[in-house]
């Protein structure tokens, strides 16, 4: 049971994303905006398990978060799928690794991508009414989210990456010797 739990630790930790998303702790927000929590989990997951897994879990996360948020007209799925695929292409031991702060930069870009895609959906939907210009000041939501996500990512992503690597090692049945 313990071994199974350790093997699936990375997947089990997915449960906490919607909980934190709903919890919405105001004390770490700016102008009521929170960091984009799913990216903190998706970045290490995709880096450890690759682009395809990143795409699939990005889709799953999007489905879960869309079900928790209102307004069936808008979705977070495209942004999370794109981020999942992109994050999967980043090598853990790649030559560009500049330390933990790199995670902050990557998550900031990811958050910007997701926020912009969501914002464009709102603009496209309100375009026929002619009111879409009213929504432009809401861009500050994206900027606040980008800043907060980039700020917290180095801390959270590096810890989760360690956890996921540990979990992956436990889940491999045959450990081939490295030559």
């Amino acid at each position: 049971m313990k071994r199974y739990f350790l093997k699936k630790l990375s997947l089990i930790s997915l449960i906490f994303i919607p909980i934190i998303f709903l919890w919405h702790p105001n004390w770490i927000g700016i102008i009521g905006t929170q960091p984009y929590w799913p990216l903190f989990w998706l970045l290490p997951w995709s880096m450890v398990f690759g682009s395809i897994n990143g795409l699939i879990l990005g889709l799953f996360l999007g489905l879960i978060l869309d079900s928790l948020t209102l307004g069936g007209s808008f979705t977070q799925i495209p942004g999370l799928i794109l981020c999942g695929v992109w994050f999967g292409r980043i090598k853990i031991n790649g030559p560009n690794l500049l330390g933990h702060f790199r995670y902050g930069l990557i998550c900031s870009f990811g958050s910007f991508l997701c926020g912009t895609l969501y914002f464009f959906q709102i603009l496209v939907k309100t375009f026929p009414d002619g009111n879409f210009l009213l929504y432009l000041p809401s861009v500050k939501n994206i900027l606040a989210e980008v800043f907060l996500t980039g700020f917290f990512a180095p801390l959270i992503c590096s810890k989760l990456l360690k956890l996921f690597k540990f979990s992956k090692d436990k889940s491999s049945i045959i450990n081939f010797p490295k030559y």
Partner: protein, 249 residues
């Protein structure tokens, strides 16, 4: 002849009573000259414990409250009768459900509350949610034990509202920030800062005359529309308990 001499002790100034009377006279004379100042000041100290204090104030305030309540009930009955005649929507306060806020997203694009009452408790989709201050939003979906409220500030929220001073309808649109915009489809309307916004008396979605907010600034007209920024009276970021009003036709 007997020389009758008056005994000196019988003279009037030897009589103590006379002096007392004289003293009283002097005192009254002083009172008369001072126009009762001394009396009034003495009365001030003597009557101080019996002044109309907090208790009497409460009695008067209670009376005024009772009077207002009676008037309000009469007006409600009148209003209900008239709305029935016009076949408009109405809300029954007897069917209000109190619910606690268990999740609150009041920032970014997703602006919603999750309440601890769901379909099990009779909460229906479309019900109006009010809190201290006025309208918060509407129930968007329900689960067995919870219900989600779409806040007026959410980008997906659009509600018809009423400006009482200028007697005009408008559309309240959430933009994803704390101040939703009021769109008025009439360039000539005389909307001013400080105008009070409430739910429309002719609304088919919301109960009538629920307070919503106040106009805090006016924007430049765009494409023949006037827009104004609204400050909501009910603050979802600070409210822990809400009332769900079941709308019945």
């Amino acid at each position: 002849m007997l020389d009758i001499r008056r005994i000196s002790s019988n003279r009037w100034w030897h009589n103590k009573k006379n002096w007392i009377l004289f003293g009283i006279f002097l005192f009254l004379f002083f009172v008369r000259i001072s126009k009762g100042t001394f009396y009034k000041d003495l009365y001030y100290f003597l009557s101080k414990p019996f002044w109309p204090g907090q208790f009497q104030k409460e009695v008067i305030v209670d009376s005024v409250d009772q009077e207002s309540l009676i008037k309000l009930n009469l007006l409600k009955k009148d209003n209900k009768r008239l709305r029935e005649l016009l076949s408009l929507k109405q809300s029954s306060e007897n069917e209000a459900i109190s619910a606690a806020v268990i999740s609150r997203k009041t920032g970014s694009w997703w602006r919603q509350l999750i309440l601890n009452k769901g379909s099990k408790d009779g909460v229906q989709i479309g019900s109006t949610v009010i809190g201290p201050g006025g309208l918060l939003g509407r129930i968007d979906n329900t689960s067995l034990l919870t219900s989600s409220v779409i806040l007026l500030t959410s980008p997906t929220s659009k509600v018809g509202v009423w400006l009482d001073r200028v007697q005009i309808n408008g559309l309240l649109v959430g933009l994803g920030d704390d101040n939703p915009r009021l769109i008025i489809y009439s360039k000539d309307s005389d909307v001013q800062v400080g105008d009070f916004v409430s739910s429309s008396p002719a609304s088919t979605l919301l109960p009538p005359n629920v307070p919503i907010g106040v106009v805090i600034s006016l924007d430049e007209p765009i494409q023949g529309q006037k827009t104004a920024q609204i400050s909501l009276l009910a603050k979802p970021q600070a409210i822990d308990w809400v009332q769900i009003l079941q709308v019945k036709s």
